[in-house]
């Protein structure tokens, strides 16, 4: 077992770190103010390989896989977690089309996603709730050579910055009655709705989509009719959860760095507060969480790269890392004292961002359902 990163992975991390520190940092104030994703960074991220990191080279990606993607998302999240939030959803669209698309769909939709010409978006959640996927109401009915979609999607990331969306809709009753569609934003009857005003991950655009007799060509069906649940589950489980976990891992890394720096510089009683055992214990908690979560996140991503079944591991990484990011950010604020709740200090943003990762991309409770099932399966009679 070799836990070291390869020279390739180390260089990848260096590349993304430099990009994030130099290019994302100047955008953060506007992202926090407006809640808008800096779409002007899409082109440079496309050139670098960030947007196409998991997309095969034959579709203009770099095909580096999920460990590389986790490095990318962690490093972006270390600087500004809204970036990996938006990008991990972008990657979900890439994965869904790559895993379930026809050759024609891949040739048409993957290159612009890989090159950063547009963003990916996978709206699954109906207003009736995201956890109850099978209970969704958004419908699709085949009429001639078109599907006609009716309904609404909410809390979807990248709605307003995408040229097309991978939408899950109901074509029949029951779990086998869901289907996936690539819906283009200029499709008749498709409309972007309100933008949400979140308290964290503000630079990741979250919005609503409305379909009013929206016409989608039959060739935009993704996978088989009735295969929508498989598209949703595989994409959320493998790409979504690893992505959310990596986003939270970036927040954890930032919390560790911010807390450590402050503790070493802040002097009380004539010495840095890092000399106080209470602060050392807080730092030990943050450090332990970071190390544990790194192992969980990279193991899950590595298993995905090996084509191993990894739904339990991705659920564990997502659930544990998002909760740990919240706890670490709170501890980092406590180490900062009153400075920690001031807007000019990073740690308050880390807590806001971390709290958004908990319900996003599948709630902690749904992850625990998966883990409970895994925990009890050896004892099942």
């Amino acid at each position: 077992m070799d836990f070291r990163f390869s020279e390739r992975e180390e260089m990848l991390r260096k590349s993304v770190r430099e990009f994030a520190e130099n290019e994302v940092t100047p955008k953060m104030e506007a992202m926090e103010e407006t809640g808008e994703f800096p779409t002007e960074l899409l082109e440079p991220m496309g050139k670098l390989g960030i947007t196409g990191v998991i997309t095969p080279t034959e579709y203009d990606g770099v095909g580096l896989g999920y460990v590389a993607r986790t490095i990318v998302l962690e490093e972006l999240g270390r600087v500004c977690a809204a970036m990996p939030m938006a990008l991990q959803v972008h990657h979900m669209a890439c994965a869904a089309i790559n895993d379930f698309g026809t050759d024609a769909q891949k040739k048409r939709f993957l290159p612009p996603l890989a090159k950063g010409e547009t963003m990916g978006c996978v709206p699954v959640t109906d207003p009736t709730g995201g956890s109850d996927v099978i209970g969704m109401k958004t419908s699709a009915e085949l009429k001639g050579d078109k599907y006609v979609l009716n309904g609404r999607k909410c809390f979807a990331t990248n709605t307003h910055t995408s040229d097309f969306w991978v939408v899950i809709a109901r074509t029949a009753e029951g779990a086998k009655g869901l289907s996936a569609f690539i819906v283009e934003k200029d499709a008749p009857g498709a409309k972007v709705g309100r933008k949400e005003n979140k308290f964290g991950l503000r630079g990741a655009n979250t919005g609503e989509l409305a379909f009013d007799s929206c016409e989608v060509p039959k060739e935009n069906l993704l996978g088989q009719e009735g295969g929508g649940l498989a598209v949703a589950i595989k994409t959320i489980s493998e790409t979504g959860r690893t992505g959310m976990a990596a986003t939270a891992l970036g927040i954890l890394t930032a919390a560790y760095e911010q807390a450590g720096k402050f503790a070493s510089e802040r002097v009380l009683y004539g010495k840095p507060i890092s000399a106080l055992q209470a602060i050392q214990f807080y730092m030990a908690e943050i450090y332990s969480q970071l190390e544990i979560c790194r192992l969980l996140c990279y193991r899950a991503s590595w298993m995905k790269d090996q084509n191993m079944r990894c739904d339990n591991e991705t659920a564990l990484a997502k659930y544990y890392t998002c909760e740990a990011a919240v706890n670490a950010a709170k501890r980092a604020i406590e180490i900062h004292g009153s400075y920690g709740i001031m807007r000019e200090y990073t740690v308050q943003r880390l807590l806001r961002d971390a709290m958004v990762t908990v319900p996003a991309g599948g709630t902690a409770e749904i992850a625990k359902v998966v883990l409970g099932r895994a925990a009890l399966s050896p004892f099942k009679k």
Partner: protein
Amino acid sequence: MEICVVVKRIIVCTKPVPDPKLWDKVSVDPVTRTLKRQGIPSIINPLDKHALEAALSIQEAQGGEVVLLSMAPTFTTSTLREGLAMGADRAVLLSDPLFAGSDTLATAHILAAGCRWIGQFDLILCGNFTIDGSTAQVGSQLAEFLDLPNVMHVIDLDWQATHTMIITQKIEHGYTKLRASLPVVLSIRKELNRPRYIPFAGIIAAESKEIEVLTNDDLRIDPTLIGLEGSPTKMAGLEIRRFERARERLEGSVDEIVQKLVDKIYQYGVI
């Protein structure tokens, strides 16, 4: 502007320098009085990245080959790999225990031998200075040994329809425009360009690119010209300077303290 200058090979001199974020971990060898770099991660000297970016831009416009040239210990190859990932075609590392302790003059001898070994070239680009030594001498010394012109403080490059290039050189209160024939050695300032980030595709491509390691057996430089022996720069001594205000406590009665203070004021020429 029409481009008719054909550049077939550009050599970019790069130096691995200790990561400035870890400068507090760098120590000095008390015997050789040189920096102990082992164990400290290296980065490409920042201005050398600007030189590489210039070379890659020229290559994108005109083709040709970009060769990285470095004199360094073999444990620093990651910086050359990074340069290859940015887009350079090949890298030549000059590494031999005989080279250790070389000052700028000896380094220039070694780099000049490396350039001759590489063969025909049209341009040599260097960073204007390195962030560890900051002497800004190697580019000019290298040019001298190769019998080539050198322009320092380069902030812009332009090509003319003749076999020349127009170089903008920053001077103290403005700039000078110079015309140069190739080959020429240019020392690049950061104003020239913005180095590209390492593209992921470049990282993969770099894995199959060659880093040629040469020793003095390949270069055959007179050993008296290189290393500590060939370095006229001798460090006379080494001390840690503390920049602290002088503090002195004046004792006695109030009148005595005031008198002492007045004396000090006169003594230090304050009034």
